[in-house]
């Protein structure tokens, strides 16, 4: 299983900060996440970036066990 890390507005929309998913691709994980969390999460996801193990990823990126996927809405630090 891969771990999904949901931060800020993505965490709020999903209702959880951590979850686990099967691959095999980023697209599969994210569409399963939309099914699981609903429309509010989908709206946040649309403006977010996704990372795999700390590096930018896209929908085709393969997802394996122990990978960490992060959903990063637009940031507001500082």
């Amino acid at each position: 299983m891969a771990r999904l890390l949901l931060l800020g507005p993505a965490r709020e929309a999903a209702g959880v900060r951590n979850d686990v998913f099967e691959g095999p691709t980023m697209e599969a994980v994210l569409s399963e996440a939309v099914t699981r969390y609903g429309a509010k999460f989908e709206a946040v996801l649309e403006v977010s970036q996704v990372w795999l193990n700390g590096e930018p990823a896209n929908l085709e990126t393969a997802v394996e066990s122990y990978d960490e996927i992060a959903v990063l809405p637009p940031i507001s630090g500082g």
């Binding site: 890390l5 931060l7 800020g8 507005p9 965490r11 709020e12 403006v47 970036q49 193990n53 700390g54 960490e68 992060a70 990063l72 809405p73 637009p74 940031i75 507001s76 630090g77 500082g78």
Partner: protein, 172 residues
């Protein structure tokens, strides 16, 4: 845990770098505790450096869209944020090789009015480099470090709408 593999906290980094022939040092910290400008500036002051520049971001009583802000609340993954702040510092050192000490501390959790949310402290033999690097660090932190800010007011709160898509430090 990607951060554990790729990122190291500042103190460890400091010790590692001390053994090199040209000792330089980074001190990166994301913490729920109060920040101390005096600590960062004193730590950054070195006998071969004539200039120390600091930037403090503090909680102000208004934002672009709201008055009567009473506090901010920051959410992040601490290890992911520290790793990205280290990338900001590394890139600053590439651009301004004269930099001596670079410290960046950022709060998480709730931060009260007039308290510092982030402090950057930079020392260099030359003040131009210290000013330019400090400015680069805070400008780049704001667009490259995963961090989400809620504005709190009496009876409510909301995510800040002063947000931007995350980019890499070297693309700034």
């Amino acid at each position: 845990m990607v951060g554990k593999l790729l990122g190291v906290p500042g103190e460890h980094d400091y010790r590692m770098r001390r053994v090199s022939s040209t000792p330089t040092s980074n001190w990166v910290l994301v913490t729920p505790d109060q920040l101390s400008l005096e600590s960062l500036a004193t730590w950054a002051t070195r006998p071969n450096c004539g200039a120390v520049v600091t930037f403090s971001g503090v909680v102000r009583d208004h934002s672009r869209t709201r008055e009567n802000v009473i506090a901010l609340e920051y959410e992040t993954s601490i290890e992911m944020a520290e790793k990205r702040i280290h990338e900001v510092v590394d890139e600053a050192r590439v651009r301004w090789p004269s930099l001596e000490a670079v410290a960046i501390h950022h709060r998480v959790g709730r931060v009260e009015l007039s308290d510092a949310t982030v402090i950057v402290a930079v020392s260099s033999p030359h003040r131009d480099d210290a000013f330019d690097a400090a400015r680069y660090c805070i400008d780049t932190l704001k667009v490259s470090v995963p961090m989400w800010k809620r504005e709190l007011w009496e009876g409510g709160s909301a995510w800040s709408d002063e947000s931007s898509p995350i980019v890499n430090a070297r693309d700034r």
